[in-house]
């Protein structure tokens, strides 16, 4: 089982490799990737060095070019692909149909993975991307149960990669424009969701209101932790009900499901969090490498040691359990 680990910086990449990552994914420092945060990501030179370093340690590097090119300005996306190929990337992770067609035509030897942002959620969609663009691996959207993943793997010839830890999208990935509705910036177009540039914390009557684009996403009392106002994890009112309408502020931890996912035919496990620190990355990767080593050796998965790292200190197995829906 391959462990695919996040790196938002060259330091995080080295930490991930040192902690036992089989594969690291990262992106260029612009809006061609879906974690386009200030101070994050790789220059051209850093990417070349990172790939050389990872390869020397026996690890692979995937370059995420998984936003949707701006109409009238495909240049930065085409350049990112060409530079990733020249730097020796083991694969590129793509979401946009036009960009997939471009890479299939102009870089036929560059391995293509389908980003979760393309939300290919059934065997027909996956086979379509495989046939049309020669995609070799699909990152499955976080809307599927383990049972459904098993069924999908029976009907496709390409590899599947699934998220096992980190932030959890409640919506089908790449099919959500909540963030741009409130702020003008979205994952698909700008590589950001609920951007910090549009966040404000206002103290009012002893409570702290966390707002995004002027909309109140959360309110916490004195002494309570104030969560980051990610739109779909907010507290809202609908009719008689007030609460987390979309999703509780928890994050995904499917470490205990690894044996089931292996049995389901999954090839690779993905850890979310290119925006996280190298210390976080190192700790999570070490823990999951212990889990995949246990799996290979036929031992039980070690009990989770990562609860302190999950968002709001609460974890969910998300859509992998059908009751989540």
């Amino acid at each position: 089982m391959e462990l695919v680990c996040p790196a938002g910086t060259p330091a995080a990449l080295r930490a991930a490799v040192a902690a036992g990552a089989h594969t690291v994914y990262c992106g260029y420092a612009d809006d061609t990737n879906a974690r386009n945060f200030p101070g994050l990501n790789f220059s051209r030179a850093e990417m070349e060095q990172a790939i050389t370093h990872a390869h020397a340690q026996g690890a692979r590097v995937l370059v995420a070019i998984n936003t949707f090119p701006r109409a009238g300005d495909p240049g930065p996306w085409h350049a990112a692909v060409a530079d990733a190929a020249a730097a020796g990337a083991d694969a590129v992770i793509l979401a946009d149909t036009g960009l997939l067609a471009h890479v299939a035509q102009h870089h036929p030897d560059l391995r293509r993975h389908l980003s979760v942002q393309a939300a290919a959620a059934n065997p027909d969609a996956i086979n379509f991307y495989a046939e049309a663009f020669g995609v070799k691996r699909v990152v499955l959207p976080r809307v599927l149960s383990v049972q459904e993943i098993t069924a999908i793997n029976r009907e496709i010839d390409v590899e599947t990669e699934v998220f096992v830890f980190g932030g959890l999208c409640v919506m089908a990935e790449g099919r959500c424009s909540l963030s741009s509705y409130a702020t003008g910036q979205s994952p698909n177009m700008n590589g950001v969701c609920s951007p910090a540039s549009h966040v404000s914390y206002d103290e009012e009557d002893g409570a702290l209101a966390a707002r995004l684009g002027g909309f109140t996403i959360h309110r916490s009392g004195r002494g309570e932790a104030a969560p980051y106002p990610t739109l779909c994890k907010g507290c809202f009112t609908s009719g008689e009900r007030t609460g987390y309408v979309f999703e509780d502020p928890s994050s995904l931890d499917a470490s205990q499901l690894i044996p089931q996912l292996a049995k389901a035919g999954v090839s690779a496990l993905k850890i979310e969090g290119r925006q996280r620190s190298r210390a976080y990355v190192g700790q999570v990767v070490r823990s999951f490498r212990a889990a995949t080593d246990a799996l290979e050796a036929g031992r039980p998965i070690p009990p989770g040691s990562l609860s302190a790292l999950t968002e709001g200190q609460s974890a969910t197995t998300g859509a992998y359990a059908k009751t989540w829906r």
Partner: protein
């Protein structure tokens, strides 16, 4: 410019569904009607038997009829349903790219607003694959719309009216709000024919939920954007159905496109029935989707 009526996004049972399309056929000055189930396959049995008559009546009234695919296809039953859709002999509107896999070579299809057509490269690929028409994602700014329309030979449509489809999920929020599992939802989304309001803790109108779909609270209204969209080469506007005053709205939009009423007058007339009670058009020209270009200029 032409007018397309999009599929009903909400759950309307048999009679309401039938009456809506009967009136649309008889009274609404629109060119094209996209119908069928977009959001949740569990709703379809409640009006499925009405579909053939609706198609016939709309066609007899001279309207082009197109069948929509689901927005998110996951279950085996849904895949089978989509394959059957392709056999019906009508143009199919693809709202999940999966649907392309079921369309036989040469079958007529168009691309709906829930497919991620963000640029001219994707539009060109879809057109080469046979797409007869593209309705662009509502999120696109007007300069992106213009860049795509400038190079794509297929007619380009944009979202003209109605609550904006902002997200689709595997989870049903209507069921969650009623403490039910999706598989035991008991079809409670039918209680909200225009979506269920989701407000902030400060009572700001913000979003609406509709089963597995999340929409804007505000009603998108492209009336003031028509001259710019025309210049950009956009050939039709999409009007998304609402439970009240929709046929009248179609008439008002036709009058607007024909230059018989102003955007201000149209917007004022249509406001009482607009879901959410306020307008937005910010995805096209504003700083964010929720903004309204006419804010501060009058009652609407």
């Amino acid at each position: 410019m032409e007018l397309t009526v999009g599929p009903i996004q909400f759950f309307w049972r048999g009679e309401a569904w039938r009456d809506f399309y009967a009136r649309l056929a008889d009274e609404a000055p629109v060119d094209r009607v996209v119908l069928g189930e977009l959001v949740c396959s569990k709703r379809l049995p409640f009006y499925q038997t009405e579909i053939p008559q609706a198609i016939e009546r709309l066609q007899a009234a001279g309207k082009k009829v197109v069948l929509t695919s689901l927005a998110l296809i996951t279950l085996k039953r849904e895949r089978k349903l989509m394959a059957e859709l392709a056999d019906m002999g009508l143009e199919i509107e693809v709202n999940d790219l999966t649907t392309l896999a079921y369309l036989p070579e040469g079958a007529a299809f168009s691309i709906g607003p829930l497919v991620n057509t963000y640029n001219e490269g994707t539009a060109a690929w879809l057109h080469a694959r046979g797409a007869a028409r593209l309705c662009l994602p509502p999120e696109l700014p007007s300069n992106s719309v213009a860049a795509i329309a400038a190079t794509c030979p297929a007619p380009i449509e944009v979202w003209g009216w109605g609550r904006l489809p902002l997200a689709i999920s595997g989870r049903c929020y209507h069921a969650r709000l009623h403490d039910r599992a999706k598989d035991n939802c008991q079809f409670i989304c039918d209680a909200d024919p225009d979506g269920r309001a989701v407000d902030t803790l400060d009572d700001q109108k913000f979003l609406a939920v509709n089963g597995v779909q999340t929409l804007s609270s505000a009603c998108a209204n492209a009336a003031h954007q028509v001259p710019g969209l025309r210049d950009a080469g956009v050939s039709s506007l999409r009007l998304s159905p609402q439970s009240q005053g929709f046929v009248e709205l179609c008439g008002d939009f036709r009058a607007l496109l024909d230059g018989r009423i102003t955007a201000e007058a149209m917007s004022r007339r249509a406001l009482p029935h607009a879901p959410g009670g306020r307008y937005c058009d910010g995805f096209l020209t504003g700083d964010s989707g929720v903004t309204w270009s006419q804010a501060g200029t009058g009652p609407v």
